[in-house]
Amino acid sequence: MLIFVLVSGAVGVRAFVAGYREAFLSSWLTSVPPRVADQIATVDRVMRPGEALLVTYPGPNPWYARMWQRVLYPRTVVLLSRNQTSAANIARLRARYGIRFAVAIGSPPADPGFARVRDLGPLLGADDRVLFGTLRP
């Protein structure tokens, strides 16, 4: 039993050390990293209240794209992975949600049909860039 207690204690302490190392050395202080929060705030300021936004992402990991969606809620944010960005699909979604603006994440980002585009800078921890702009009418 003593061995069990010692082994369990050692496993627990080791996990705590690893957890602390990860939390204090490589984790952001906020759930939404500051640069991403700035990029989202920039877009939010430009758009009308309640207006929908299209966000394209390279896939298969939609972590940051979903972060945009969650942070901007209750604004409607429609996410599309790169392989869904056909002109017909985008046209359907634009008609359905009245979308005028899009954010494209990727390296290089997919072009959802930008009329004017603004580079919001790189995505954290990746080679991807974040582009924002109005879509062609």
Partner: protein
């Protein structure tokens, strides 16, 4: 991130409100940390389970109505306590601790502090952010449970099915703050961590020495899956483990029996798997009532008598289960993660059996995550089955039934089975880890008692060495 003093204060205030709801449900006054912990779990679980029927009736005003209800319960209990204060005697003095026990208490406090710091410093994990906090944000804005998910996201519409306890707590906290901030919810999780430690201590202390209970409480607080990673990342596995620990403690403590049906029912309001656990726990209690293996009290007639005597408790569990199943039916979401039980999937499950067992064994025996917990839990369960009291045999049976059910789920996944197991199995086991530690502690105590009877001289020497005379 600055020190979230307001969030901590509001989290504690809400916890007090949940405890007040628990006191109303249990028709009693909470005494001591164990009583408060039990009331908190019952109240939080009941509010989460009630959110669906209230949402059906009040729509977007459901969350506010629930908060008003919590506030009223809290106010009523505070007034009752203030009125009652004058008539109450002095609190009993804290027991004097042997130096080793004091050291163990200090280690538990230190571990809890370490988890609290880690929890505040860690940002949300995938599940913590993209599932629970996201559901909380929807609940915050929508004011009640709805059938809507984020636009065009058909696959993750399955997340609507996830029970609302963690999201509800976060949304209530945001309502009290007046705005939604993803970084203000971390104080919630240390509460559930403390609850696990307290419940585990209570379960073991009832039947063993103070020292064994303290060691078990310390070990549960040191389990990596309870104290780091997912637990600090805001998922609901650790809160579900708190409800499991609370249920085990209530089942083993005679004075907590009234809370048992509420705690079993509340399992359904925390995480999807909670429904499985509620069914396993209900089955275990029916088995306990039937008295299988007990020649003096078993049988169908006494069983019927016990069922009749506990009809109210059975109705409570049934109400929570019905609420949960009605919620699932109302949502009408098809979760593509798992296939239905039909001939084709059963055939696939049989083919996968070897692989699933192999992978689950590998994960459960991972020394970096579990040490030797699960092999020892198996041995402990066998010891309890052979030598334990009826309730201890029931605990062992329930523990392995739950592990069996959790393993069987993986047979029906539509994902790559190994990937699913690697992502899910540690978390599933973490929900049951407090029960496993309780089983280990109880079997240790059984074996030690047997040893003491057979070798009294040795045990007397050990008792002196362990400070048995210092008022334990």
């Amino acid at each position: 991130m600055s020190f979230p003093a307001t969030a901590i204060a509001l989290t504690v205030l809400l916890a007090g409100g949940f405890a007040a709801v628990g006191e109303v449900m249990l028709r009693r006054r909470s005494e001591g940390v164990l009583g408060w912990n039990e009331s908190f779990l019952v109240g939080a679980g009941t509010c989460a389970a009630a959110l669906f029927p209230i949402s059906l009736v009040l729509g977007r005003r459901a969350l506010d109505a629930l908060m008003i209800l919590v506030g009223l319960c809290l106010a009523a209990r505070v007034v009752a306590r203030v009125r009652d204060r004058s008539s109450r005697g002095r609190r009993p003095a804290l027991p004097r601790l042997a130096w080793m026990d004091a050291l163990l208490v200090a280690a538990i406090v230190l571990t809890a502090a370490a988890f609290t710091i880690l929890s505040f410093r860690y940002t949300f994990s995938w599940d913590g952010f993209q599932i629970y906090a996201s559901k909380a944000k929807r609940l915050f804005h929508e004011g009640g449970l709805t059938q809507q998910w984020f636009a065009e996201d058909s696959y993750d519409r399955r997340l609507l099915e996830y029970p609302p306890l963690v999201a509800m707590y976060e949304a209530m906290l945001a309502r009290l703050r007046g705005s939604f901030d993803f970084d203000q919810f971390k104080p919630i999780f240390p509460l559930f961590y403390f609850s696990i430690v307290v419940s585990t201590f209570a379960a073991v202390r009832q039947r063993t020495s103070l020292r064994v209970a303290l060691v078990t409480a310390l070990l549960v607080g040191l389990l990596p899956e309870i104290a780091t990673a997912q637990a600090a990342g805001g998922s609901s596995d650790m809160p579900l483990a708190a409800f499991v620990a609370g249920t085990v403690a209530a089942c083993l403590r005679r004075e907590s029996r009234r809370a048992v049906p509420f705690l079993i029912g509340s399992l359904t309001a925390v995480k999807n798997e909670g429904t499985i656990l509620a069914i396993v726990a209900s089955g275990a209690i029916l088995w306990y009532w039937y008295g299988s293996g007990n020649r003096t009290s078993g049988g169908l007639r006494p069983f019927r008598k016990r069922v009749k005597a506990h009809a109210a408790g059975i109705a409570v569990v049934a109400a929570y289960l019905v609420s949960r199943l009605a919620f699932l039916r109302w949502l009408d979401v098809h979760d593509p993660t798992y296939g239905p039980i039909n001939a084709a999937n059963l055939e696939r499950a049989v083919e996968r059996l070897g692989l699933v067992v192999r992978v689950c064994f590998r994960l459960a025996l991972d020394p970096a995550v579990w040490g030797v917990l699960w092999p020892l839990a198996l041995i402990a369960s066998l010891v309890l089955s052979a030598r334990g009291a009826k309730s201890e045999r029931t605990l062992a049976g329930a523990l392995w039934s739950a592990i069996g059910a959790y393993t069987a789920i993986l047979l029906f996944t539509n994902w790559d089975v190994e990937l699913q197991a690697v992502q899910a199995y540690h978390r599933l086991l973490s929900q049951l880890a407090p029960a496993a530690l309780v089983a280990i502690a109880l079997s240790y105590w059984r074996m030690r008692r047997t040893f003491d009877v057979q070798f009294p001289a040795t045990s007397a020497t050990r008792a002196v060495m362990e400070g048995a005379r210092v008022g334990r």
